[in-house]
Symmetry: C2
Subunit: 385 residues, 2 copies
Amino acid sequence: MPEAILDDISHRRYNPLRASWVLVSPHRTKRPWQGQQEAASRIELPSHDPTCYLCPGNKRAQGDVNPKYDSTFVFVNDYSAVKEQQEEYKQPDQDGSLATRLLRAESTTGKCYVITFSPEHNVTLADMPAPTIMPVIDTWTKIYTSHIDPHSPLSRAAKPTTSSPSAPNGNIIEQPRQQYRYMQIFENKGSAMGCSNPHPHGQIWTTTSLPEEPEVELDNLKKYRREQGGCNLLEDYAKLESEKGDRTVFENSSFWAGVPWWGTWPFEMMVVAKEHKRALVDLNQQNKEDLAEVMAEITRRYDNLFETSFPYSMGIHQAPLTGTDEEIEASHFHMHFYPPLLRSATVRKFLVGYEMMAEPQRDITPEQAAKRLRDCGGELYRRKL
Amino acid sequence: MPEAILDDISHRRYNPLRASWVLVSPHRTKRPWQGQQEAASRIELPSHDPTCYLCPGNKRAQGDVNPKYDSTFVFVNDYSAVKEQQEEYKQPDQDGSLATRLLRAESTTGKCYVITFSPEHNVTLADMPAPTIMPVIDTWTKIYTSHIDPHSPLSRAAKPTTSSPSAPNGNIIEQPRQQYRYMQIFENKGSAMGCSNPHPHGQIWTTTSLPEEPEVELDNLKKYRREQGGCNLLEDYAKLESEKGDRTVFENSSFWAGVPWWGTWPFEMMVVAKEHKRALVDLNQQNKEDLAEVMAEITRRYDNLFETSFPYSMGIHQAPLTGTDEEIEASHFHMHFYPPLLRSATVRKFLVGYEMMAEPQRDITPEQAAKRLRDCGGELYRRKL
Ligand SMILES: O=P(O)(O)O[C@H]1O[C@H](CO)[C@@H](O)[C@H](O)[C@H]1O
Ligand SMILES: O=P(O)(O)O[C@H]1O[C@H](CO)[C@@H](O)[C@H](O)[C@H]1O
């Protein structure tokens, strides 16, 4: 394999999904670290915390009371980054002036939801057996479905729902007031990732605009599809990686999960559907069970790696809620996991300086990271203590 | 002004330098913060630390001894991210296989330097009066000059140097073994920005490849130049902002410094040359003194804002060391300052979750940030204590 030498030399790897590069410096892992350390995570939490605004039955910031939910619970974020309604902003017409050329803005509206993953305050996805992750996937699917453009080719895949899209007890999923363009589902886990409440939860931000990252990915997916006679970049990629195996961490019949060739964060992972699935609505029951299994496998391995509650941000990329047929068909369901830890529970990778000014840089190679994650499956370390 | 309403509504702003967008949510500043806090910075340091590998006269990791330097000192990084020489990697030829299509890599070599800003262990740029910042700018200029392609239009601007490019005492600036493409000059300040040694210093990474960020910027600078009859985007931008004033923090005859319209970090700043300067070699003595003044003004205001040693990453973007005439002429000298703090010495902005998966997001507007920085000039807070 000509790639074997990449274990020892500095090089750049190409990310075809973003059309961007990452600098890899494998020899740099020997660098001593005397800088800032993260606090090791607390795991001594009660299963119900009366001061937590996410626990069942508790009061939230603006006075609403959470129902006594028993699996997931969805509500509109009390501090949403985008609002459903606001005053209008009309960008002045291009008049050849520097101001209209260089100071461009557009109004964005939308809706932000919070979704709890469990009523229990002191668990994380890593503690949850795959079947208990199913309600999370079902709720994501329901909320995505309820926001799809009825004229989109996606809506044919969506199962007919009762008049108001049914959701587990107490969930507030109203039909949106207007057709939004994109729904970003994500989770910030751990204080190192800006999460301010350990209660297991994620967020869902839905906007009138197609955000940067999904737009860049969609452009490259469309380009590949046109150039490769209708093939899908990520379907091809999952096939290739599943055959190669050296970047694979876990796979089952529906998904490949591993450290991508172009990963930037030390233990970054991607989950890619093996067959062409445009979005959550395309997943059948088996696919969803396989997804729950993959999520359980990844999060448990992360925790096992440094025997800590492993911080990360993760999110789903899938078809926009509305778009051209080409956009919908070129979309391919996948998840990204971006975890910051590098060497231990307390030593993280900083993507600063060179990374901000010039180019992302990583030290250990994706193959080395994948091997370590492959080798730390099995029971969750805390359960063995 | 139609923009006034942007103070209250969520919107996206366009960054013409990167052709990208940022989501702005001004109403979100009221969000309570219960998450991770940074440690407030220590300022009780000795002026010489016998264990510091950057102080004059001390020994470094691989055994070299620092000279007793009295202003700046440059040496090759003991843990360089790229090396000057290494085994070759030949990317296999495109053979239509998935592997050659999706697993692309290229070898990168280069040289990484460290530059100390002062012999004193316990100062930062914020503590240094403008004239004492001049040696930093001179050393940057010398090292940049010594790496320029002799055939580039830039080398005509470079002052003839003695046989070996002269540098302050003890500095090791050897002629590079090969022609590199780009030089990234930057500083990581503070433990929150991954800096592991408080001794004031920056880094310089020089590579055979043109990194992502400068490449994207250069593409947009070239495009603007072609579309606007030879005008320079950043020269036009500095002119416009200097006239408008509401995003200006400080300016003098050579530079505009302020919070850009499209800034992502809460107190992000840019320094832009008012006249067309392609790189450090184009700065005359007055320009350099003006740059030293701007750097002193920015770093002192940052520290005054929350009365703390303000963390940031900063860096210079300028012409590549070698390139087409169009690339060199479209380049425009500027600096970026990316500081993470949001509300106080201990509460930072996390660019996680939505920002990683979807789009950068900011809370306070650039105009609000600029006003606060404008209003906290004057003496350094620590000197008044
Ligand atoms: O070289 P340093 O200062 O030890 O390391 C720091 O800056 C580098 C360049 O921005 C980053 O790659 C590292 O993650 C960071 O910790
Ligand atoms: O909404 P939260 O969880 O309070 O806030 C967190 O996630 C958001 C979305 O990724 C970020 O914008 C914030 O900086 C982060 O602290």
